[in-house]
Each structure stands twice: as structure tokens, then as C-alpha cells.
Symmetry: C2
Subunit: 226 residues, 2 copies
DNA sequence: GCCTATTTCTGTACGGTGTACAAACTGTAC
DNA sequence: GTACAGTTTGTACACCGTACAGAAATAGGC
């Protein structure tokens, strides 16, 4: 409200910002998984004492929360609000976009599962999903349940797929993740792994976008076909 | 092979067993969540020095793994192998049984998500799911994908539902968990929460078995209806 | 009977974590 | 120049998982 609002505060030239901390944390998360993203590690990467972080965030959980919200914020919800596009296609786009954004940072996804997803971005995403489901002709109750189902599927699959690999650095692309997942499943033929008979094959399919999309279609079939 | 195989080893009278450690850990998990289930806490509950645990388990991860396998072992797979029962009904029973067993120990479920589920019991469960899906008339590839979808749903929903509450003690029954979940969502009317319009309502539905079953039916509809 | 081998448990310690507290520093405003 | 306020650091605490050496206790061989 006062006229003289600018960068005119006492104190030393600040070498730290919220975004610098978040970037460093996300880098560490991508490189070394959840174990690498310690407060000391974050501060060290920015070249600062560990406690300096607490000037900008009340605790480590707040840093995590900010990163999660940042990632969810990269999903442009406006694109999926076009009511000329059929609702199934809108949901599918959203699910694939979300998967793409989040599996690029497996370590961050691992952190999501631990804490509550109750930030503004997470709630907005939920809200949008509800809105789209309303266009499907479902009543409010069914739309709420379908939203639950879809959220479980989208986040559940990402969670299960990245949980095992979240702590291992360097497995960012889908191919690398599939390779890492297949390692240790000797019963699986090198090529065409989804067709193997045993449970090991199922474990291996966890990481394939193809399976993900198939499952999404089956869910949408189930929702629409009633 | 030798005839004199009995309890005839030197050493002091053991006050510790694998199962005593696992029981103490599970108790702490139920009471105080993952943070309470520390090695020091486990040992303290049994009345022993922390390092004594390492006589029976190589590390803490092994304790967790043993607990997970123990819980999965409580699910009697033989009951679901009756081929006279329709495959959909068999899968539904399995999913509900699993949910019941696991949501009784939210803290343990939280631990499951972190580590790989590659123990004998987990693989057997997978195998059984595959087998049942084969009876549905799907080919091997589709059965594998459907298995993926179902595993994601069953474990994903449990994971998402219990992640937030896993660290909070005393929320073991479904009613308590719903109450805890609803706390903080002021926009939700006290009764009939699934019908509220906003995303908060969807968040609240996470904990209801009704939603869980509804989603399961929609998935089975999607799988069967093609 | 003692002696010895073997197993279980304890004492202590190391490096790691998140974080609280007070002091030191660095800049702006008067 | 002096006072003030915001930023960063030094130090410390309680906790974590766990490695290592030694003590306690019991079995079998003589």
C-alpha cells in the first residue's frame, strides 16, 4: 500500500532464493534420488550453510511441497478445458501429459506419495478432472467416484513404477527405466517381454507407457459404458 | 541329514526371535507410523540393545521385507483358485481381501511403496492374478496388461489412501480414517461428502471402501467388455 | 569336574539426518 | 556515524542406521 515498495531492505546481498533452493533440490532428486536430496546437500550445492535454507522454508517438508506444486504447475490445465474436444480425449491428454511431466522426475514423485497432495495446484487439477467428468454425462456422485478412480490410476501407476527406481540415479528416460526394471527378471525374454507367462512379466510391464495407455482406455470404457 | 538335529547350540539363552522383532516393528508401525518404527524403537520394545536386531536381520530393510511378506502371506490364495466361481467374482474377492488386510496396517503399506515387492508372496499373488485373468478369455498379452492395471489399482489406492495417515497413530478403522481425512476440508458438509461439488470431495472419498469397490467394478467392466 | 568353542547380546563409536539457538556479518535509513 | 534489520554461519542437540570389539552365557569334549 505504501508508495516506496522496492528492493530497499537492510541486510547483506542475498545469495539465496526460494527458487534456487528448489532447483538445487530437484537436481539432486533427479541425480541421486530421495536420499541425495538432504538439506545439507541442497545447501552445499548452492554454496551455503545448511541452516540458511531455513530462512526461506520452515522445514524440509515445505521445500518438498513447493517442488511438487511447481511440477504440477507446469501442467497447463487451460489446454484441457476446450469443450469442443470430447471428454475422453481431454482426460487422456491430461493423464498422458501428467505422466510425462512426473516420470521425468521419479525422485520427486516418490516424495509426493509420502506427503499429502493438498496444495492449490493439486486441488486445481482435481477440480478440472471433476469438471471434465461432468461433461461425460455422469451425475455428481459418479463423477466424484470416477475422479477417485482416475487419480488412483494416474498417480498410483507413477508411484509404483518409480518407487523402485527413485533412489537410483541416471534412469530418467523410459528406455533406461525399462532396462533397469528388467534387470533381475531372468525369466523374461529380452524382447517382447509383455508376453511372458509368469508374474515377472507383469512386474516388467510396470514401466511401459503402452500398458499405461491401455489401462487408461479400459478405465474410461468402464466409466462410459454404464 | 545328521540324526542329532535339535536345539543344541552353545550360547546364552536367547531372548530374541525373528518373529518377536517383526511383531514389535509392526506394533510400532501401527501405533506411530513409519517414523516410530526405528531400529532403536524396535529393540527398546523387546527390551534389548539396538544392535541385537542385526543378529537376526542383515539390515532394517530386511525387517521391512519380512513384515511385508508376512502380511501378504495372510492372504489365502487357495480360496480364490476355485474355478467354479466366476473370474470376476474371484478377482473382486481377492482385491477386497487384500485391501482389508493391508489397510489394517497403514504404516506397513507405506513401507511397501518404498521398496520393491519382489518377495515370494508378492510374486505368488501376481501369479494367481494372472491365472485368474486367463480364465477370463483374454490372451496372455491382454492378461498381463490387465494384471498391471489391477495391481496399480489395488496397491495404488491403498498407497494413496494411507500415505497421508500412515504417520498418524490411532487411525486404524475406516471411520477414523475418513474423519481424519475430512478434517481440514471445511468445504465438505459433514454428511454425504461424496456429493459435494469440489475437488475436496474427491479427496475425501479416498478412504471409502464404497468408492474402491465402484472403481474395481468399472475396471473389470473395461477389461471384460472388449 | 573343568576347558574351550560358539553363539547372543552389549558398549561404544562413526557418519549421517533435520533443525534450534545465538552470534557474526552486511547492507539501508536516519 | 550510529542504529537497526535482515541474511548467513557456528555450534550443538537428538535422532537415525549400523560397524566393531568385547562380555556374558551355554553347549559339548575331555
Amino acid at each position: 500500500m505504501t508508495a516506496q515498495a522496492r528492493s530497499s531492505k537492510p541486510g547483506p546481498r542475498r545469495t539465496l532464493t526460494e527458487s534456487a533452493i528448489m532447483e538445487a533440490a530437484l537436481d539432486l532428486l533427479d541425480e541421486g534420488g530421495v536420499t541425495a536430496a538432504s538439506v545439507r546437500g541442497i545447501a552445499g550445492r548452492v554454496g551455503v550453510a545448511p541452516n540458511a535454507v531455513y530462512t526461506y522454508f520452515p522445514d524440509k517438508a515445505a521445500v518438498v511441497k513447493a517442488i511438487v506444486e511447481h511440477l504440477l504447475g507446469q501442467v497447463d490445465l487451460a489446454v484441457f478445458s476446450d469443450r469442443n474436444v470430447p471428454w475422453r480425449q481431454r482426460i487422456e491428454s491430461l493423464a498422458l501429459e501428467l505422466r510425462g511431466r512426473l516420470t521425468a522426475h521419479p525422485g520427486a514423485v516418490n516424495l509426493m506419495i509420502g506427503g499429502p497432495m493438498d496444495g492449490p495446484r493439486a486441488l486445481a487439477l482435481n477440480e478440472h478432472l471433476m469438471e471434465t467428468l461432468r461433461d461425460s454425462g455422469l451425475d455428481a456422485g459418479e463423477a466424484a467416484r470416477a475422479s477417485y478412480l482416475l487419480i488412483v490410476y494416474v498417480f498410483g501407476s507413477i508411484a509404483l513404477e518409480t518407487a523402485e527406481l527413485g533412489d537410483k540415479p541416471g534412469a530418467s528416460s523410459e528406455d533406461e527405466r525399462i532396462a533397469a526394471r528388467l534387470k533381475g527378471f531372468s525369466a523374461i525374454p529380452a524382447a517382447g517381454y509383455p508376453l511372458s507367462a509368469g508374474a515377472t512379466a507383469v512386474m516388467a510391464t510396470y514401466v511401459s507407457t503402452r500398458q499405461y495407455t491401455w489401462g487408461l482406455h479400459r478405465i474410461l470404457d468402464g466409466i462410459a459404458g454404464e
